[in-house]
């Protein structure tokens, strides 16, 4: 066991570091290092534009989607090299947020199920950030219960006609393409009648309506489909095999979780290190220390769990469901950290706005955004089910919705 770079890794690190030093948009460094969950925005510039420019620059320098094959816009790097890159990229990594769904989930799914032609056509632009992708899975009737989705796709000649509605689609408003799961056969059990596609978000009949979030921002959307035409060539996987295709997406979601999960710990540690309370520096207070220590070991536990996963990955093992723990631990922790940071400031902790309240505002945004971490991409409860069932081997819930034709499952108001 060691954390040392091999000679190749050390060379890679040196090269990455030099390139970043020469090319990164340093004018945003300070702002980015202060940004945290729920507050990744720049004062003067549009974060998506800045993100796109950085991604493009990386792609041209051969530093985008490192672990992807070269022909699809990547570098063919090892998992460990990818981690090294993330370490070196540091705060600029926060600029990659708009591309995470595309890079982490849509890309790998296209890679696994798309035709060679499509892969060469779409992936390099996805990698370079020129085109942004979104994931159109959740629906009003099915979030945790993705397989309960109702958006219909019907075959018509060489095309499919799609009607229905998706919801909670992050970034749909600035996305160029989307990965779309639909129901193609409602007469078979729910997991068997699904089919996956990708589509141009500018297609006729696609309407994107932003949803205002609890934290005041607008990052997710409703997406309506009215007689949208998708060519059969944009189908991913077999007809009726969409559930398996979606599992590939979800499994890849785990790989992409790895290093960049926000826990709030660095922020609270820094905050307590500098905060003065009536009886001295907050960090000298035993109660504060006890809390910080509790969070510190969670944060480091997650970090080293992800290192273990990367080591396993680099030996060719598949990332298992045990990686589900990251989000499960971090979501609740962010909420607790944010409210403790506010607690430490007393009544003034509730204030937002003014520039001198930067710290306060940071934790408030964390508090307001953290609930989404416990919901998006698998709720805490679903993640616990996954751990219990897929890691520990416990039986699944007793189900009333399996092995029954989809259109015979009890619902409300269909």
């Amino acid at each position: 066991m060691n954390f040392d770079d091999t000679p190749q890794e050390a060379a890679f690190r040196t090269e990455a570091r030099a390139w970043i030093a020469a090319n990164a948009p340093k004018q945003y460094e300070a702002e980015l290092s202060k940004s945290s969950l729920g507050r990744i925005s720049l004062a003067k510039d549009d974060i998506v534009d800045v993100g796109k420019a950085w991604q493009k620059q990386k792609a041209e320098g051969g530093w985008a989607c490192l672990h992807w094959p070269k022909e699809y816009g990547g570098r063919g790097a090892t998992p460990i090299e990818k981690v090294i890159w993330q370490q070196e990229e540091g705060v600029y990594g926060k600029l990659t947020q708009p591309f995470q769904i595309g890079e982490g989930m849509c890309g790998p799914t296209v890679m696994a199920f798309g035709s060679e032609e499509h892969k060469r056509h779409y992936l390099p632009k996805l990698a370079s950030g020129e085109q942004i992708w979104c994931q159109l899975f959740s629906e009003p009737a099915g979030g945790s219960d993705v397989a309960g989705l109702r958006t219909r796709a019907e075959k018509q000649g060489d095309n499919w006609i799609v009607n229905g509605q998706k919801i909670w689609t992050s970034g749909a408003h600035y996305s160029d393409y989307g990965l779309l799961i639909t129901r193609t056969d409602p007469n078979v059990p729910k997991h068997k009648g699904l089919t996956m596609f990708f589509l141009d978000m500018k297609s006729k009949g696609v309407e994107v309506r932003p949803i205002k979030q609890a934290n005041g921002m607008q990052e997710f959307n409703e997406v309506y489909f009215t007689d949208v035409v998708i060519p059969d060539s944009q189908r991913l996987g077999n007809v009726g095999d969409g559930w398996n295709v979606s599992l590939t997406t979800l499994m890849n979601e785990r790989m992409s979780i790895g290093a960049r999960l926000a826990t709030g710990f660095p922020e609270i540690f820094e905050f307590c290190s500098s905060l003065m309370t009536e009886d001295g520096p907050a960090i000298d207070d035993r109660a504060t220390r006890s809390k910080l220590a509790g969070w510190a070991v969670k944060a480091s536990g997650l970090k080293y769990t992800s290192y273990r996963a990367v080591s396993a990955l680099s030996k060719g093992e598949r990332p298992g469901p045990e990686n589900s723990i990251g989000k499960l631990v971090a979501g609740v922790m962010l909420q607790d950290i944010a409210s403790y940071a506010m607690d430490l400031q007393g009544a003034a902790g509730a204030l937002t706005g003014a520039a001198e309240e930067l710290a306060t505002g940071q934790f408030q945004q964390m508090l307001l955004s953290a609930p989404s971490m416990r919901i998006a991409g698998g709720t805490d409860e679903i993640l616990r089910n996954i751990i219990a069932e897929r890691v520990l081997g416990l039986p699944g819930d007793i189900r009333v919705d399996k092995d029954v034709p989809f259109n015979k499952i009890p619902t409300k108001g269909r």
Binding site: S138, A141, G142, G143, S144, D145, G148, I167, W168, I211, K212, Q213, A214, N215, G216, T277, E278, A287, Q335, S339, M342, D343, L344, Q345, G346, A347, A348, G349, A350, L351, T352, G353, A354, Q364, L367, L368, P371, S372, R374, I375, A376, T379, D380, E381, R384, N385, D397, R399, V400, D401, V404, I409, P410, T411, K412
Partner: protein, 375 residues
């Protein structure tokens, strides 16, 4: 022993609930949240007409003279409805301070105006970051004139008058602090509205420049009066918090019964059921602690300081817990602006700080228990 509200008090609760359901639906809260108004003036008027603003104000000062148990009952309903009005600052803080320490003239001037809804009052205590402490009070008070900055002041931008803590000595003891009553409309004070986590309730910064002020209570007694006011307000605020916690629990329960996933109501999954059961447990413990606080408040018992801290801690925890998990039960819907969950979440976290944070009250509780134990 009878550890429950009386039938009349329960009837009053039903009345208040009905009134607020009609006059203060979530839509009304949103109007303030979205910045269309600084508070709900219609509702404020209605509360005055119902006699709720003066429930605990004696009849001779224009109130209903009912008492503090009745006020607790109303407070709970205000919390349930997230009422976007300066109720807590006017009634729990300003009115209580005047009732405790005001001269006959001061009572006569302000209490009837509070009861009738004409005057909004507040307490200007904090001066930036930190919890209540005599050391934190720097605002200079000399010769009946105040100089300094208070922030955050709840409802400070809409208040007509404020009870202000000021420094009148520099011995490093509690006796350095005195209370003042300031007519905010009389000049010498500049109010600046501040934004906060919970925009449905106002916060402000008040800057005092040679501002004329009359003493409230004896000079040097400020800290001791303030402590009593905070204890009393803690009980009342705890009722608001319990009202909010209960409503958040109810919302979660209703959604869990209604929402179908995997062909069954999500409330049939133990993960969801147990989450709701735990919310119920914390709301119940908080309610019971609040009842004890209500008893201590209404009888002015020597147990009040301890009972108030316990009610405050328990209710803060319960409201935060219920509001947070109410979002979780709602899934994606819970994270939308459109659903009301976030309004409870915001209120829960903002009320957790208003009278001093959880850490502050935890410290206070143990301090008080220890002193009692030693006695």
């Amino acid at each position: 022993m009878n550890f429950d509200f009386s039938d009349e008090q329960k009837q009053m609760r039903d009345e208040a609930r009905k009134f607020l359901a009609e006059k203060c639906p979530p839509k009304a809260v949103r109007a303030v949240l979205d910045g269309h108004a600084s508070y709900d003036k219609e509702l404020w008027k209605g509360l005055a007409e119902m006699g709720f603003l003066g429930v605990a104000i004696p009849e001779e000062f224009g109130g209903a003279g009912a008492g503090h148990l009745e006020l607790c009952v109303i407070a709970e309903e205000m919390g349930r409805a997230l009422a976007p009005v300066p109720f807590s600052s006017t009634v729990y803080l300003a009115a209580e301070a005047i009732l405790l320490a005001g001269s006959a003239a001061q009572k006569k001037k302000w209490l009837p105006a509070i009861a009738s809804g004409e005057a909004i009052g507040t307490l200007a205590l904090f001066e930036g970051k930190g919890n209540p402490s005599p050391d934190g009070i720097k605002l200079a008070a000399s010769g009946g004139s105040l100089n300094g900055v208070k922030k955050p002041v709840p409802d400070g931008a809409i208040a007509d008058f404020a009870v202000v803590t000021g420094r009148t000595g520099s011995t490093g003891r509690d006796g350095d602090i005195s209370l003042f009553l300031v007519d905010l409309k009389a000049g010498g004070v500049e109010a600046k509205a501040l934004t906060s986590l919970d925009p449905s309730r106002g916060q402000a910064e008040l800057t005092f420049r040679n501002c004329k002020a009359e003493p409230l209570g004896a000079a040097g007694e400020g800290w001791s009066i303030l402590t009593q006011v905070l204890d009393r307000a803690a009980v009342l605020m705890a009722f608001e918090q319990v009202g909010g916690a209960d409503r958040a629990l109810e919302m979660g329960r209703d959604y869990a019964l209604d929402r179908i996933a995997f062909g069954r109501p999500i409330g049939s999954f133990q993960a969801v059921k147990h989450m709701l059961a735990d919310m119920y447990v914390s709301a119940t413990l908080a309610r019971s602690n609040c009842y004890y606080g209500a008893w201590a408040l209404s009888t002015n018992a020597s147990e009040l300081p301890e009972a108030a801290a316990a009610a405050r801690i328990s209710a803060t925890q319960a409201f935060q817990h219920c509001a947070k998990n109410n979002i979780q039960v709602h899934g994606g819907m819970g994270f939308t602006w459109e659903f009301d969950c976030h309004m409870y979440y915001r209120r829960a976290n903002a009320t957790a700080l208003g009278l001093g944070s959880l850490s502050y009250w935890e410290d206070a509780l143990i301090d008080r228990m220890r002193k009692k134990n030693a006695a």
